[in-house]
Every structure is written in C-alpha cells, then in structure tokens.
C-alpha cells in the first residue's frame, strides 16, 4: 500500500495503482488516472464507471460479459472506450479493486 496524490487528493493505492478505498474516488481522480492510461473520459465512460461502482457496492463479480449485458455498452464498445484493458483499466479508473474474474 502506498499514498499517492491524485488530482490534489491524497489517496491510498495498491501496488498496481488501484484505489484501496473506493469512497475516496471522485470524477477528477478518475480523469487523472485515465490520463495516465492515455484515455480521455467522456460521458459514456462515466456511465460505465458508475455502473461498475454500483455493481461493486452490490458485491457482484464483474466480467466484461456482465458489462456487455448492462445495456450501457456492448463488449465491442467497451473495448473502444478502454482499449487493451476493458475491465482492468475501467476498474482502475472507477476506483474499484482490481478485477478477479477470468472472463
């Protein structure tokens, strides 16, 4: 665990850069993490991020398949929003733990 200042807020992050405490998250933090990953966030991104956060609070395991069935994006669009890391990058930006799913 380490402390890192993101968007002016000191947050606890894991070794891989995921927020330790998802309640420390805010949209500005999301934008900054996304920038590090080369992603410019749009409203569509935030729809996905909010969905991921809601599902995490509901303690559901996340898969790209479940996001693809969320009605927000299909899997292809999810890849377009978060290239090369549809679940990893989106989780990181959403301030939720690193995904543990294999699908």
């Amino acid at each position: 665990m380490a402390l890192k200042t993101i968007a002016g807020v000191e947050v606890k992050v894991t070794e891989d850069g995921y927020l330790e405490d998802m309640t420390q998250w805010n949209p500005e933090i999301a934008k900054e993490i996304a920038k590090e990953l080369g992603i410019e966030l749009t409203d569509k991104h935030f729809e996905v991020l909010n969905y991921l956060r809601d599902r995490t609070i509901a303690k559901e395991a996340l898969t790209i398949r479940s996001v693809g069935k969320s009605g927000i994006v299909d899997i292809k669009q999810l890849y377009e929003l978060f290239p090369k890391g549809p679940l990893k990058f989106s989780s990181k930006i959403a301030g939720i733990p690193k995904p543990t799913s294999c699908i």
Partner: protein, 167 residues
Amino acid sequence: METKEKKPLEKVCIICAKGNLEDVYATLVMANGAVMEGIETNLFFTFFGLEGITKKSMNHLHTATTGNPAMKMPGGLPFPTMLGGLPGVESAVSSMMRKQMDELGMPPVDEFLEMITAGGGTIYACKLAVDMFKLTKEDLSDEVKDIITIGEFYELCDGDRTQIIFT
C-alpha cells in the same frame, strides 16, 4: 549488466486441435483473457477442434465420460467407466456441465467467440482439416475470419514477444 526491464507478451497464437468441451473452453478462456490484457490474439482451430467453431456443434460440445479418470459423480465419488459408456450418459453429463458453467457466468461457445472478436482477437480454421471434414466456410461460425494453411498461420506468429500455445 543485469536488466530488470519487463518484456510483456505482445502476441499469442493459440491452437485448438481437440473438440471436447474442456479443450475448447480452455482455448476460449485463454484467448479471451489475452484479448482482455491487450495482447494481440490469433486462434487456430484444427482437426477435431473445428467442432468448437462449427455452427451445428459448437454449443453442444461434450466431455468424455469414458477414458477420463478425473470424471466424478455428483458428490465426488469416482465415475464408473462402464456407466460412462451407456447410451445418453455422455450427453446428459455434458449438458449438466454446460449448465454449471452457465451458472458461473461462462458464456456459450458462440457468444464466447463473439466476445473474442469484439476485443480484436482473430479466429481461423485450418484448411487441411476443413477439407478433411468436408466443411465449408458457411458451416463455420461467422466469427471465423478465414480458412488458412499452417504456413499462413506461422506467418501470423511473427515477433519476438509472441508465444504459440497448443491447448
């Protein structure tokens, strides 16, 4: 001089030559996992592996109930080989297994193939095997990009951070 620079995998080329439920799913899980990690992914289905991309069979794959020492009865007792050979047993066991996989959120084969191509993975069928089983492109899933030779497959495997995986 010691260097600690990481050299992540850039490309995987996965070959599936068997048509059992578990072999095809191993291939699909590994391929989808690679695509999700941002690794360029080529899939090559050959021989009985073609079952996994043939429209008619791909969502009805079987697991072997004979010659499979890992097979267990519900509850954990060993599965008697004699029982596995009875008509309908393999079919029933396989459908039970597919149901369990579905409960775990694992997609059926056709959807899994779509997930892989949606992420940019590419799926090929082996020309020799397609000819041998007298199949045509129309018999195969729409997610199959092309029917190619093994030589063409190897050409796709270029790059020094590429791995070929045979499931």
